[in-house]
Amino acid sequence: MSQEVATSVPSPASIRWSRRLGSIADAWRSLRRDKLAMISLVVLVAFGVLAIITPWISDRDAIRAVNTADNPTWAHPSGSFLLGTDYLGRSVALQILWGARVSLFVGLMATLLTIVIGTVVGVVAGFFGGWTDAILMRITDWFLVIPFLPLAIVLASVLSRSLWTIVFVIGITSWPFTARLLRSQVLSVRQRLYVDRARALGAGRTQIIGRHILPNVTPLILASTTLTVPIAILTETTLSFLGLGDPTEVSWGVILNEAREKGAVGRNAWWYYLPPGVAIVLVVLSFTLLGRALESVLDPRLRER
């Protein structure tokens, strides 16, 4: 235990911030030691930066069919087309770049929706218990047992075919997992003695949830987020691959779908189907590995003091 004596009483806010920054620094230090997590982080940052700067380095019109009539079709990778061209003469490399924007956007938005619904349902069910819990959990079970693909197909065909529909479909079908995870954690936190103490001090429900329950399940929410993103990206890919995506947007799933439909495999046009596949695997794997690492860094039960 250190023996230094602070010279004056610091303000509560400054104490809170210095400690919070300290614990973030701690988490970062232990994350740094995980090589796979660091590689994943680099991969994700690279994809993220590319997705953001794409509009500045290329023109969306360059991959519209009307503008590519002069390009060679099924061209091998070359100096002018880094990853070759497709059946319409469009650059595969540019499609991947623009596709990254769509895939990451859908992945992140769908995750946000999933986490928000899942957290609210899980925390409310776990904290209030009783009838609230019973009803919310039956609803959750109901969503859990709905076969995902048929529901997605029905929703995607009934609703307008836009990216937001895909976000909605993914969000509505994947929140039950987050809700169950959160509920079980809240059930355990709710029984800690410090929650009893807060009640004895006179804290109301909002205060207990806000100051005691949520902070203690935040690491789980964060880890759950990074593990949900890859699922959402894969789901978007699946839906687009099945032709249920937004027809006006290019995503990695759309590229794969078209490559399959136009017989890229038969023509041995590996530059057409391999790169989107590799991109998907890289991003999904990176999110998963980073999520695992974050989970062990942030979960106090897995971290040694």
Binding site: A6, V9, R197, A200, G202, P215
Partner: protein, 322 residues
């Protein structure tokens, strides 16, 4: 008692849909500036009783009055109650949120009850009153950086910062190292002597009662079986259960050990008649039969009788012999 800080009347706490009688008809007063030790074995309902006083357990029956005002069980009533009644816990490590600094732990109650004053000063004063000096050294610390004794002092500081009239203490030193227990007990007693706060201390340790309590109440299977001034109850116990409890405390010399057989009793199966009779030495030795009141022990349930000397006791044998 008109100056009672806490008055319990026929309090019952039941669990499991009324099958488990954790607290079974308890009436008890705690006077201003008084330390009451509530002693008994685990499962006797002593912790449940104080948890129900502060609203951590539901009250099935009976009433609770604080400073003569009946306490409502709604959100507003409980909030008002918790301004006047505070609690500390057996396990100070578990009772502090590991993500909150010591400052936040102490300030939490002040914010909830909107206590007037400069918050950092109030927190620092509460910490130094609890013996954590200089307080600046502790404000930024987190619970896992403190020792067990220091954590218990933080809990005491946080509770006493609200200037309650009554402090409920659930086994306040049971989880602490033996050599520091005395300091924590002395600290608790100092709040009584200086501020006139009252304390109800739940404990299995009769030595603690001897150290700080003015009065002692002995609980068995959800009911108080003997209550009175600590000096009298601990030195001249009347109830056979109190006698047995005292006889197994190794520190008392010249008292013949009276080890009760059987396990700690089960509050979901309370015996008929006097609830202690299956383990009672007076019944087991045949004395009750010889004196002809064994049927009452087996058949007639009883509560605390009016005072015998300074004690009140729930025992047929005591009642008949006086």
């Amino acid at each position: 008692m008109s100056d009672a800080v806490l008055a319990l009347t026929n309090v019952r706490v039941q669990f499991g849909g009324g099958k488990v009688h954790a607290v079974d008809t308890v009436s008890l007063d705690v006077g201003a500036g008084e330390v009451l030790a509530l002693v008994g074995e685990s499962g006797c309902g002593k912790t449940t009783l104080i948890r129900s006083v502060i609203g951590l357990e539901p009250l099935s029956h009976g009433s609770i009055e604080v400073e003569g005002v009946k306490v409502g069980r709604g959100a507003r009533g409980l909030r008002a109650l918790r301004r006047k009644v505070q609690m500390i816990f057996q396990d100070p490590s578990g009772a502090l949120n590991p993500r909150h600094s010591i400052y936040e732990a102490v300030a939490e109650g002040l914010r909830i009850h909107k206590v007037k004053g400069h918050e950092p000063t109030l927190v620092a004063d509460a910490l130094s009153a609890a013996g954590l000096r200089p307080p600046e050294r502790f404000l930024q610390r987190y619970p896992h950086e403190l020792s067990g004794g220091q954590r218990q002092r933080v809990l005491i500081a946080a509770a006493m910062a609200l200037r309650p009239r009554l402090l409920l203490a659930d086994e306040p030193v049971a989880s602490l190292d033996a050599s520091i227990r005395g300091e924590i007990l002395a600290l608790m007693r100092s709040y009584v002597d200086r501020d006139g706060v009252s304390i109800v201390a739940v404990t299995h340790d009769l030595g603690l009662a001897w150290n700080i309590a003015d009065r002692v109440a002995v609980m068995y299977l959800g009911r108080i079986v003997e209550v009175g001034p600590a000096d009298d109850v601990l030195r001249t116990p009347l109830h056979p259960y109190t006698k047995a409890l005292l006889s197994v405390v190794p520190e008392i010399e010249g008292m013949e050990q009276q080890i009760l057989t059987g396990e700690t009793p089960d509050p979901s199966r309370i015996p008929s008649g006097c609830r202690f009779h299956p383990r009672c030495p007076v019944v087991a030795s045949g004395e009750a039969e010889r004196l002809g009141f064994v049927d009452r022990c087996r058949g007639v349930d009883l509560e605390l009788e009016p005072e015998v000397g300074s004690h009140r006791v729930a025992c047929h044998a005591v009642q008949i012999s006086t």
